[in-house]
Each structure stands twice: as structure tokens, then as C-alpha cells.
């Protein structure tokens, strides 16, 4: 099964029979139905994690047919294999280093010309390729008639027509995979794309220079091609591997041929053109597609915004009518029930064990559990919008507005989700294709006021401002948005030199959502949230609890309160006393804690608390406290996912410091301004 599938550069694979399961890699461009096929083959028998050192989702699973078991790894969806993004590097490094036994290249039958581009790259790598021609039904609807056998002959690799959404053709696909493993397709030799003759000479010259110096497992011919394409990653690798004079010689050739990148790409499209001309019997008819008709509304500069506003309205309606009651129910029944139970069981245990379990551990578990309803709703909506193809339209119509922050349209939806909860917002930044834009979005996402912060506002604003509370609340939201835009453009200028990543995006065809795909997505994301963020949240909750009881077991004399009194001078700038300062610090585990802490410190019930607060503090202090609550360091769940998604403590701490600075500056400013106007 090894040497026969030769490409010009293949090195011989170990002939020893693998003890392990056959390794199948699933490759394909975005929007070709890769997730649908992966879910169809593996079902719940799959595992989701991250690629080592990267925050790109890695999915692998197992499937069985006719007593044969296979291991399937889903490669990230990429348009090409040139190092433009971490996804592309992951995909090609996997094929080169892990040496899958078969690479299944999924292509879209209704859009062969574009989706064969990745295949043109895959066939030059030393792994057997099987092409799965997906969306045969869509192609048929569009009047396209494709001959898989002709395409197979033209490409020189097996081609199997399938329709993943209806589970059609997958058995045939697995049989061909097995045949390939058994070596039955050995006689097929993939036809490779060629490049223009003048660049061919350059390629040969580079090949001559790098000969013998190419590190394993890279095929020299492929490395030469990537150098011509201007691949930064491969250039770095070769600069380290080549003697200086050879690298200089390569560079001279590259400089003379700096247009080679387009020649290589054009060569691939010429290759594709030949395949398509051979295999497509009846070309597309000129009918106006559904997508075009829907886009006249959904991508319209005015109506598009109206539709987006309507969809987002529905999302919030769902959050409040289903999410919030479910949250309250879980909090009272599940967490409350567990607390009662633990109190009973531990009635005779020392107070600190009971406190640790009930207030520390169960408090943390409660924070995780009560997050779940909102997370599930947001994951489901996100999955639905992505699967139908609407996500790209939302990004498109919001592109102009996001320019203000040096971002583009892709950042809008994650930020918007932040209004519900900052956690899914930060997890949602994975839809942003460029790394700096994703980082910037993550850093400013905590400035979006979430429902927990709005709950604090809803309690305190009427207390201090009576009938003007609505106005104050709106003002606070607008103020947060202003700070968000200012911070975005500031960070963009300071950290990213004002660069803006290019807005280049495929607008996929609309299609009906697949409930299986969305269901699995919600299930996996929720599971991974509980596993990863959940453990961090739990640990932080326990630490905070410990600080709130040590040394004497009394909150009023605890380290936490001592710390609050220590930093009270800073609180003074914003008009706070030590109690407001402590309330703010305890909002770290969960924002709504601020009110509960004030209750404890004043020893009051909620009704009494309102009166006590208004008689203790001036409206200026009240307003300043509200402003700081809106902008203060994110809650611990958000911090946990920032750490997880940036994969860096540096950026996490930067975010904390930045938010702290912004909130103190804004609080101080607002307090003194409010005093000046006589509040």
C-alpha cells in the first residue's frame, strides 16, 4: 500500500504492516460539507480537542464498516495549503508528518472549479488521495451533469460521488478507501499541475540549490514550489537548513520571479480547467439562484441591517424567555438542592469543610452550571447561522461599522454575543480568520456589557436615579460601546500598528441547516466548555472562598476585606469607600455578586439595602460605581476562556490590566464630572 502511489517526490514509506488502525485524513475547503461527512461517519464516536499549541479545533473519531475499523482525522477547512493561516500549516504538516494512509479530499460538485484547487495541492504531497464528490444533489438541481468516472480518469485518483446530507454514497467511499489501503488503486498515477515554462527553469534552479538540504519530511519538489509561491513558513525552514551562500542564490531566483506566485496558481487553475472540461457534460444553466435572490435582501446595506437586527432580537428573546428561567431554575433547584444536601451531610463536619464544599466548590459548580442554558442557546444559534450560510452575510453588512476599530465584519457576531455573555463571545472569535483580528476582538470583547452586569445596573440604577434609571441604563450601554470603539482603535494602533486584515471572504450558498451537524456541535462545545473552562472556574471559586474566610472564619475580617481596605485609597478616586471596593472585588467570580456582597457588608435584606445605599452614598458615587461595574476586569469564567483561546497568560494579564486601567480612569472621570454638575 505504500510505494505504488508515487508522486515525483515520494519517499518510501515503512513497509511494515501498521499495528494501529488505518489513519484517514479528511481534507476539504470550507463550505463543502466536511463537518456533515465527518459526523455522518463517526457519529458520537468522536473526540474534539485542539491541535497541539494552537487554538484550532481538532476533531478525530473512529468508524467501522465490514469489520474494518478506521481512524478519521478532520483537517481544518482550508482553501489552499500555502501558509496564510495556522489552519493551512496544520493541514499540510499533518499530511507530511503523520503520513495518513489515505487522504479523502472532499470537493463540492456544484462548484468543481474552485474546490478542486485544494486537490491540485494535495496530489503533490506524498499520500494517496481519494476524491469524494459531495453535493451531487445540489449540482443536479443546478442542471450540472458530472461524470465521476471521467473525472477519475482525468485526475488519476479514485473519485466517488456522494451526497453527505442524505448519507448517500458513503459506503462506496469507505469501500474505495479500503481498496486503496489494499493497494488496488496502485496503478493510478495522479496527474500533476504544471507551471509556465519560464518559471519551470526557476523551479529547477531552486531545486538544484536546495538539493540534499531539505529537512525531513518535506519533499524537495514541493519545497521548491512553496518557495516560488512565497510561503513564509517554508522560507524560514529553508533559511535555517541551507548554507548562507545557497540561501542567497535561492533568494536571487525568488526576487527575479516575484510574480511566480500567480503563475503557480494559474497553473493549478489550468489543470483544473482541463479536468472540468472533461468531466462536466452539461454546464450550469444561467438561472438566478436562491442565493442571489436572498442576498438582494440579506446583503443589502439597509435591509440587511434590518434583517440582522431582527435575528439578533430573536436571539435575545430566546435568551430571556428560555435561558434566564432555566438559569434561575438550575440555580435554585440543582445548586440550591445540592447545597442543602451537603449542609445536611456535613452537619457535624468542621465549619471549614462545610464552607469549602458548600460555598467554595458548590459555588463554583453553580457558576458553571448556571452558565449552561445561555451557552447552549448561543452555541445553537451560532451553529445555525454558520450552517445556513447566514454568518457570512452578517459579517458582510457589518463590515463598514467594524472598520472603525480596525476590524472587519467577521468580528461583529462574536462581539454581539457578548451582550448575552462574554464567554461564548470569546469562544466565537474562532470564526475570525486572521490572527491579529481575532486577538484584538478577544481583548475588547469583555467591554461588551453582559446580562450579569446589566442585572447589577437594573438593581442599582432605580435605587439612585428613580424614574431616570432607564435613561441612565441606556447611557451606560452607549458609554460602554464608546469605550469599546475607542479601545479597539487604540489597541489596533498601539499593538497592531493600525494594520487591518483584508476582508476577503467566500459567500457560501444558502442551504437548509442540518440538525445533526448543529446538535453535535452544541454537544461538543458545551462539553468542552465544562471540561476546560469549568475546571478553571471551579479552582478560582475555591481560591476566592478561601480568601473570604481566612484567617478568622469571618468575612468582615477576612483577607479579602483586608485587601479591600488596603486598596481603598484607589477606590476614593472614584468616590468609593472600602465596602464598595470589596463589592467590586467580589464581582470577579460572578458580576452579580456585587449586590450580594453589599448585602452582607450592610447586613440588610434587598429592600432595606436600597434605602441604606441611597442614604450612605451620593448619586455621584452611585453613577461612578455603575460605570466601573460595566468596565471592570472580566469575570473569572471570561478570564478562563481568554486564557484558553489566546493560549497565553501574557495576553490574559494584559487584558486584566487594561480593563482595570480603563475602569479606574472612567470611574474617576465620571465621579468628578458628576460632582462638578452637582449630583
Amino acid at each position: 500500500m505504500s510505494d505504488c502511489h508515487t508522486t515525483p517526490s515520494v519517499s518510501s514509506r515503512p513497509l511494515a504492516v501498521r499495528e494501529k488502525l488505518p489513519l484517514i485524513a479528511l481534507a476539504g475547503q470550507p463550505n463543502v460539507g466536511k463537518s456533515t461527512l465527518f459526523n455522518l461517519l463517526t457519529g458520537l464516536n468522536q473526540h474534539v480537542g485542539n491541535w497541539p499549541g494552537k487554538t484550532v479545533e481538532r476533531r478525530e473519531g473512529k468508524f467501522t464498516l465490514d469489520d474494518h475499523q478506521y481512524k478519521l482525522v478532520d483537517l481544518p477547512g482550508t482553501y489552499s495549503l500555502t501558509a496564510n493561516s495556522p489552519e493551512e500549516v496544520i493541514a499540510r504538516e499533518f499530511i507530511l508528518r503523520e503520513q495518513p494512509d489515505v487522504v479523502v479530499a472532499l470537493v463540492n460538485a456544484s462548484n468543481l472549479e474552485r474546490s478542486l484547487y485544494l486537490v491540485a495541492e494535495l496530489v503533490t504531497l506524498p499520500a494517496p488521495v481519494v476524491v469524494a464528490l459531495n453535493m451531487m444533489d445540489v449540482a443536479a438541481q443546478e442542471g450540472l451533469c458530472i461524470e465521476p468516472k471521467v473525472l477519475e480518469a482525468a485526475l488519476g485518483v479514485p473519485v466517488i460521488p456522494i451526497t453527505a446530507t442524505r448519507a448517500a454514497g458513503t459506503q462506496g467511499l469507505i469501500h474505495v478507501i479500503q481498496e486503496t489501503l489494499d493497494g488496488q488503486h496502485c496503478l493510478m498515477t495522479p496527474r500533476l499541475p504544471e507551471i509556465r515554462s519560464d518559471h519551470r527553469l526557476a523551479l529547477d534552479e531552486i531545486l538544484h540549490q536546495i538539493d540534499g538540504c531539505v529537512p525531513s519530511p518535506y519533499p524537495p519538489e514541493w519545497v521548491a514550489l512553496k518557495l516560488l509561491e512565497g510561503d513564509a513558513e517554508i522560507a524560514r525552514t529553508m533559511q535555517n537548513s541551507l548554507p548562507a551562500e545557497k540561501w542567497d542564490a535561492v533568494n536571487i531566483v525568488l526576487r527575479q520571479h516575484d510574480d511566480a506566485l500567480l503563475a503557480v496558481a494559474s497553473g493549478r487553475y489550468e489543470w483544473i480547467g482541463r479536468m472540468v472540461r472533461a468531466a462536466v457534460v452539461q454546464p450550469r444553466m444561467g438561472q438566478i439562484s436562491w442565493t442571489k435572490r436572498l442576498d438582494e435582501w440579506a446583503a443589502h446595506p439597509f435591509w440587511g441591517l434590518c434583517i440582522l437586527a431582527g435575528i439578533l432580537g430573536v436571539v435575545f428573546w430566546l435568551t430571556f424567555t428560555i435561558g434566564s428561567p432555566a438559569q434561575a431554575w438550575l440555580d435554585i433547584k440543582v445548586v440550591g438542592g445540592l447545597s442543602t444536601l451537603a449542609n445536611q451531610v456535613l452537619a457535624n463536619a468542621p465549619f471549614w469543610i462545610r464552607g469549602l464544599v458548600v460555598d467554595g466548590v458548590l459555588g463554583g459548580v453553580g457558576a458553571v452550571i448556571t452558565f449552561l442554558p445561555i451557552m447552549v442557546i448561543f452555541f445553537a444559534v451560532f451553529g445555525l447561522l454558520e450552517d445556513t450560510g447566514y454568518m457570512a452575510r452578517a459579517a458582510y453588512v457589518m463590515d463598514n461599522m467594524m472598520h472603525l476599530m480596525g476590524l472587519h465584519g467577521r468580528s461583529f457576531l462574536p462581539l454581539f454575543l457578548g451582550f448575552g455573555c462574554n464567554v461564548p463571545a470569546i469562544l466565537g472569535t474562532r470564526v475570525i480568520d486572521s490572527k491579529p483580528a481575532r486577538l484584538l476582538t478577544t481583548l475588547i470583547a469583555p467591554l461588551v456589557p453582559c446580562t450579569a452586569r446589566m442585572a447589577v445596573v437594573a438593581f442599582l440604577a432605580p435605587a439612585f436615579f428613580g424614574p431616570k434609571a432607564i435613561l441612565v441604563s441606556w447611557g451606560l450601554v452607549l458609554f460602554s460601546m464608546l469605550i469599546l470603539i475607542l479601545s479597539g482603535s487604540l489597541l489596533n494602533k498601539l499593538i497592531f500598528n493600525g494594520q487591518r486584515s483584508a476582508f476577503i471572504m467566500e459567500m457560501p450558498l444558502y442551504h437548509l441547516p442540518n440538525s445533526r451537524t448543529i446538535g453535535l456541535l452544541v454537544w461538543q462545545r458545551t462539553l468542552s466548555f465544562i471540561q476546560k473552562a469549568g475546571t478553571n472556574i471551579l479552582a478560582m471559586a475555591v481560591v476566592i472562598w478561601v480568601l473570604s474566610v481566612l484567617p478568622g472564619g469571618n468575612f468582615q475580617t477576612s483577607y479579602l476585606v483586608q485587601f479591600g481596605k488596603l486598596v481603598e485609597p484607589v477606590g476614593r478616586w472614584m468616590g468609593f469607600d472600602w465596602r464598595l471596593t470589596v463589592a467590586l472585588i467580589t464581582s470577579f467570580p460572578a458580576k452579580e455578586n456585587a449586590i450580594a456582597t453589599l448585602g452582607v457588608l450592610f447586613g440588610n435584606n434587598p429592600q432595606g439595602l436600597v434605602q441604606t445605599l441611597t442614604s450612605t452614598y451620593s448619586p455621584a458615587t452611585g453613577l461612578s460605581f455603575l460605570v466601573v461595574t460595566m468596565l471592570f476586569i472580566p469575570c473569572m469564567a471570561t478570564v478562563a476562556v481568554i486564557r484558553q483561546e489566546t493560549n497565553s497568560w501574557g495576553w490574559t494579564l494584559f487584558n486584566l490590566a487594561f480593563m482595570l486601567m480603563v475602569s479606574i480612569a472612567a470611574g474617576t472621570g465620571v465621579y468628578h464630572l458628576a460632582l462638578a454638575v452637582g449630583l
Binding site: E113, G230, A265, D295, P301, E506
Partner: protein
């Protein structure tokens, strides 16, 4: 020759050249935008992003990106 952002709705053109950066050129090429490719403008309101059809794919481009892509208008 005009920039792609100047192409009007329903006008067709042939891509001639790019003045955009290398990594953007790479991304455009992998989405089907290479010199010689036919483009068909389907949405262009004169401001904001625009949508073109190229090699059967709908591609959205920011106005700034489109201004750095040069096309020959096809005579209809």
C-alpha cells in the same frame, strides 16, 4: 483598465493584475481570483464591501481590497 471597485453591478471583467500584498494575493488566488479569471459584479453600492462571482463562487471583498485589483472591462 479600472479597479474592481469601479465595476458596476452586472458588468463583467477580466482580472489583469493586483497591487495588493503577497499574502492577500495568495488568499485571492485560492478563492479563484487570478489574472485572466472572469469576474461578474453582483453587488456594488458604491460604498462598503462588494460581491463578485468568480469561477462560480460568490466572493465578498472589502472596498479597500477591491481597489487594489485591476480588471479589463469586457465589452458587452
Amino acid at each position: 483598465m479600472v479597479s474592481l471597485s469601479q465595476l458596476l453591478v452586472n458588468e463583467k471583467g477580466t482580472i489583469h493584475s493586483f497591487t495588493i500584498g503577497r499574502s492577500e494575493t495568495n488568499r485571492l488566488a485560492s478563492l479563484g481570483l487570478t489574472p485572466g479569471a472572469q469576474v461578474d459584479m453582483t453587488q456594488n453600492y458604491g460604498r462598503g464591501p462588494l460581491i463578485v462571482i468568480v469561477r462560480g463562487t460568490r466572493v465578498a471583498l472589502g472596498r479597500g481590497e477591491a481597489a487594489q485589483i485591476f480588471v479589463e472591462r469586457n465589452s458587452s
